[in-house]
Symmetry: C2
Subunit: 255 residues, 2 copies
Amino acid sequence: MTTEHAGSGNVHRSMELLWDLCERPSRGPKPGLTLETIVTAAVEIADAEGLEALSMRRVATHLGVGTMSLYRYIPGKSELLDLMLDHVLEMPDGVPDMSHLGWREFLERTAREQWQLCMSHPWYPFVDQARPLLGPNGLETVEYVFRHLRPMGLSDQEMAVVITSLSNFVESTARVYINEKQAEERTGISNDEFWAAQAPALDEAMKSGQFPVMADLAGDTWGFTSETVFEFGLQRFLDGLESFLARRSSADHEH
Amino acid sequence: MTTEHAGSGNVHRSMELLWDLCERPSRGPKPGLTLETIVTAAVEIADAEGLEALSMRRVATHLGVGTMSLYRYIPGKSELLDLMLDHVLEMPDGVPDMSHLGWREFLERTAREQWQLCMSHPWYPFVDQARPLLGPNGLETVEYVFRHLRPMGLSDQEMAVVITSLSNFVESTARVYINEKQAEERTGISNDEFWAAQAPALDEAMKSGQFPVMADLAGDTWGFTSETVFEFGLQRFLDGLESFLARRSSADHEH
DNA sequence: CCCATTTTGCGTACAACGCACGCAATAAAT
DNA sequence: ATTTATTGCGTGCGTTGTACGCAAAATGGG
């Protein structure tokens, strides 16, 4: 129905699971599942069918177990989501060495990596992470970003604001891109059919004389994709950041 | 559960309702509701309780009618959403005259208006508008934005990309802001309690030596809100746009 | 070796969701 | 007066997360 929220469940319990702080009990039947198996299955289902298709029943069916068996390993769906979010940040090849890059190239690289993360896991940008849980992968990611931005000369808070601004833009544009791509599959109506369905009413509106600028717009006005928006917005933001740093630098030299 | 999508229902029917293209039938009992009443009620409920609380049953209860009575006026919930989205774009005081503003002041003003729209209707930035239906209010908004940006000298498509880039950033930052504000109410846990719950695991991680930069971050690194991010990102984008136009202008003079 | 305890597996049942179906009442057209 | 069309709306469908509680498996202690 609406947004899934990170950090909505039992935060303490989620952290225990994220950082693997629980000891295996010695009694009872040997478990047939692992937490890793459940999280991996959940990510696969979300990747393939979308977050709205992800249900405890769906994960259980995928794994060939009863729905309530999952609740032996995790308190609930909220905590499963927390684990999924950290899981997808894992860097299989380890942390790449980018110490040779300037801040601009590094931020551009980071933005593209985030974009790729959203392409690989199209549900990811739709999760509310206002209250993020910091697992090992998430912490590693933030560590590596801050390490590479240190040479910019910004305060820690300024760096955090830069990262958050850029991250917000990338995530939003990725969301629109994903929504655009999935709209045809989800509705069964092509993009052309969609706009054709609006044409009768819009033609009348254009003829009314109330919207002269709209009526006069070039045919290719909307003929771009979110990838165009991503590239344009990214370069404008980085250009603006260069101006900001240049002004900061010349102000420093004045003292 | 997940995102609500504009343009998901019967597009043709939504357009008829948006542009009021249906004639009132002459037979049968006089209707006790109007489309306007239903849409206004739905917007009020979404404003007060969030989009996840918006259901046909909820709207019907609010209006004191049976759930299925609503289906006499609109095909379904998807079309109701389309009407809501156009409804909230209505400018009560008409289109403001901003012909005296330069493009930068105008874009800044537009960004702030969009921010305010998201504050007044906190559910708005959470709706997928990859397939927007253009109603009278929506069309009027786009008409007025393009009219004021014409003097920038950009192509129609370039203007559209600028507007979309900025709009994506504002919406995304507004989402985070709204999620941040609502998190405490939604979970019953304050922000301090939330971070305190993570502290034991994070303290261990800091002690491990694996995250030296994170361990060394200033205490106020994350002590900012989405309003800070909004202001910073907005100015950087507009600065970047100025550079873009300056380069465009100097390239033009070279020919 | 036996019993108690703990853990794993998982079925049942709960309320709310959107909306197809179809009936009763209202009101205009013939 | 009858027919036709519209409005109002109850019923019933499958899906959702998870509390509750029982059966089976496996270990610890006596």
